[in-house]
């Protein structure tokens, strides 16, 4: 007993150890390598050498500012659209789903049973120039004759929104589901209209889900390249496409690594600003 008590201070560390070890091995170490690589110069023919080449960073921003901006624009729009679509759905499932809750949640997750690539390729068929979507949009005059959806920015944003929707919907559902219904009843008892009760009680209580959902959607969306590759044209390419082409086609590993770091830094900065704006306690619930 004595021994056990004396060692009890160890317990939290032992519990933390596997996760920490995992993060150190598979996140921090590769990140270190990536950072090292981002400061190398040279090319594949003659090899790369570490030269503190900070110029990789400035030239990346100079040359690919447009793609950086486009990435955040597309990711931002997709996040907002995903939020506007998911919130009512999550709200309805949480408060009106009844015994169908689990089935309805399954419907939201169902697309995830199919791999990412196949889901996106399916959109290529749905939005095809000869598909029914484009035909209907032509008929009702939304698309001008000869207009198209595939290979446009709209298709890319639609693809991203669709692919990351569950990341938005599920956290929203969880936080809405946890709300104590009596609080809303109390608000109504105190003569709050339904709308006022929503704005002043329900929505603030669901903020942790809103924060988690937007982050889980925005972060991967900003670095995505599959949607732009398959549903866009060269004028819709995002920074992920540039990184991919630098890495794969040009074998310019330092440039690819430095761009990855810039992307990471910008996202981190945005999260900090966001967290400050809504309050850090919302991040942790």
């Amino acid at each position: 007993m004595r021994v056990f008590h004396r060692k009890r201070w160890l317990t939290p560390y032992l519990l933390l150890a596997p996760g920490m070890l995992w993060l150190a091995l598979f996140f921090l170490v590769p990140l270190g390598f990536l950072f090292y690589q981002s400061l190398e110069s040279g090319n594949i023919d003659f090899g790369y050498a570490f030269t503190w080449a900070w110029g990789n960073y400035s030239s990346a921003i100079r040359s690919y500012r447009g793609q950086f901006e486009r990435s955040f624009e597309y990711a931002g729009i997709a996040t907002v659209v995903a939020f506007l679509v998911s919130y009512p759905v999550a709200y309805w499932i949480a408060f009106r789903g009844g015994r169908w809750k689990n089935l309805l949640l399954l419907f939201i997750v169902a697309p995830f049973f199919v791999t990412y690539l196949i889901r996106t390729l399916a959109w290529e068929t749905i939005l095809s120039d000869n598909g029914f979507v484009v035909r209907i949009l032509h008929d009702i005059g939304v698309l001008s004759p000869g207009g198209r959806l595939l290979a446009t920015g709209t298709a890319v944003v639609a693809g991203i929104t669709y692919n990351f929707l569950p990341f938005m919907a599920l956290p929203l559902y969880v936080s809405l589901e946890q709300i104590d219904q009596r609080l809303i009843e109390a608000a109504e008892d105190l003569y709050a209209s339904r709308w006022a009760a929503f704005i002043r009680v329900t929505f603030p209580l669901s903020l942790p889900g809103v924060v988690a959902g937007t982050l889980l959607t925005f972060i991967p969306a900003a670095g995505d390249f599959i949607n732009a590759e398959l549903l866009g044209s060269p004028t819709n390419h995002m920074i992920g496409n540039v990184i991919e082409s630098k890495y794969k086609e040009l074998l310019d590993y330092p440039a690819a690594a430095s761009m990855s770091f810039i992307l990471m830094a910008i996202i981190l900065a945005m999260i900090l600003l966001y967290a400050r704006a809504v309050g850090t306690e919302q991040l942790t619930g």
Binding site: D45, L121, D129, N130, H237, L250, L251, D252
Partner: protein, 386 residues
């Protein structure tokens, strides 16, 4: 040692008499056991056949019957070597980035044969970096069947490291049902009726070669001036909205669906697509197309002897003909046409598979030096991916 000589003499005789080895497993039997394919390299085990040959190839690039590859089964029956055949190459760049970490750190990629295209920078890069094993030419007497045009590529002048698997043409495909024939690059890049429904290829050399030929420049000798002129031509077509996107292997979907009315396309793909959609047509543009070759290479750490024995096997005209009958690209093996005429005369007479002299004269090869020009490659990637 005597064992090795026996086998070499045996192989030579078999090849000289034009016959193929007929006793299944005879080599395995007289070879006295086989070694696993890992490592290889040292001279003592260099002439033992491995149990398994790991062969990585592009999709739809070998004969197929149901789930079987008859030519590989014949190889196994003859030599007792099982071929672990993987269709894991989708484009040169992705595949190179997959094997590059192993090769650069001196590890085996777990593969004995890979196939890469000579109009990309990678085959020459692999040779230059010393990341490929030398062929064991003593095991490849059939190398005499290699078509003469392919014997001395600039990046491997004596074919010490590589042998062609298939060649193909880059030209223009169009959908006959939806458009008039598109047979010139001028039409493809400028005809308003095709606006937004034109595909170009994302491989540097494919698109540049065709556009340069259209501009009246020589794709086999690229200068800053001709390169910039070609880029300008392409940029103009992109800016005007004529070009829908730059495609890799994936143009075939939109092309078959009708989203692309016309596109730059590879000859064999179109032959295969035509089976389902006879409205798809293909031709070299009037100003000339591009010819390229996919090469078998042995990545460092692969079993050079076993791989060489396999290469010798596919350079048997009869086997080459069987593979050709399915893949429909351009065959590099002399005698395959004659062998195929007996099996499948329609395919043997298809000029996309055994091209006419006119076609070969109208097909350019890209300047190999351009494939490693960082400045041009970067400019190209910025156009394709920005």
């Amino acid at each position: 040692m005597s064992d090795r000589i026996t086998r070499q003499v045996f192989l030579r005789r078999a090849a000289a008499s034009g016959s193929v080895l007929t006793v299944p497993g005879i080599l395995a039997a007289c070879g006295g056991g086989s070694s696993p394919s890992s490592g290889g390299g040292t001279s003592t085990e260099a002439h033992k056949l491995a149990k398994t040959l790991h062969f990585s190839n592009w999709t739809l690039y070998i004969d197929k019957k149901g789930n079987k590859h008859p030519s590989l089964d014949q190889f196994q029956a003859k030599y007792g070597v099982h071929v672990a055949y993987a269709e894991d190459i989708n484009d040169n760049a992705s595949f190179f980035s997959k094997i590059q970490p192993d090769l650069s750190s001196g590890q085996s990629t777990g593969r004995d044969i890979i196939v890469m295209t000579d109009n990309s920078r990678y085959p020459s890069l692999l040779v230059k970096k010393g990341w490929v094993e030398k062929l064991d030419k003593s095991a490849i007497p059939n190398i005499k069947n290699l078509v003469p045009q392919q014997r001395h590529p600039s990046w491997d002048p004596n074919r010490d490291y590589s042998l062609p698997w298939q060649s193909g043409f880059t030209g223009i495909g169009w959908n006959e049902k939806l458009t008039e024939p598109v047979t010139t690059m001028g039409d493809l890049l400028g005809n308003k009726k095709l606006k937004g429904k034109v595909g170009l290829l994302s491989e540097f050399s494919d698109t540049l070669a065709l556009v340069m030929a259209y501009n009246g420049d020589d794709p086999s000798k690229i200068t800053d001036q001709t390169f910039n002129r070609a880029m300008k031509t392409i940029q103009k077509a992109v800016d005007s909205g004529q070009v829908r996107a730059f495609y890799g292997n994936d143009y075939s979907g939109p092309f078959a669906k009708g989203d692309l009315l016309a596109t730059m396309a590879w000859s064999g793909d179109v032959v295969q697509l035509q089976a389902d959609n006879p409205h798809l047509k293909w031709q070299l543009p009037d100003t000339g197309g591009d010819i390229w070759t996919d090469n078998m290479l042995i990545p460092k750490g692969g079993d050079a002897y076993t791989a060489s024995v396999y290469m010798n096997f596919v350079y048997t005209p009869k086997i080459a003909a069987e593979i050709e009958d399915y893949v429909n690209y351009v065959c590099p093996v002399l005698g395959a046409k004659e062998a195929l005429i007996k099996q499948d005369p329609a395919v043997a007479k298809n000029p996309l598979i055994f091209p006419t002299k006119d076609m070969l004269d109208n097909a350019h090869t890209i300047d190999p030096a351009a494939l490693n020009n960082e400045k041009w490659l970067t400019a190209w990637q910025n156009l394709v991916s920005a």
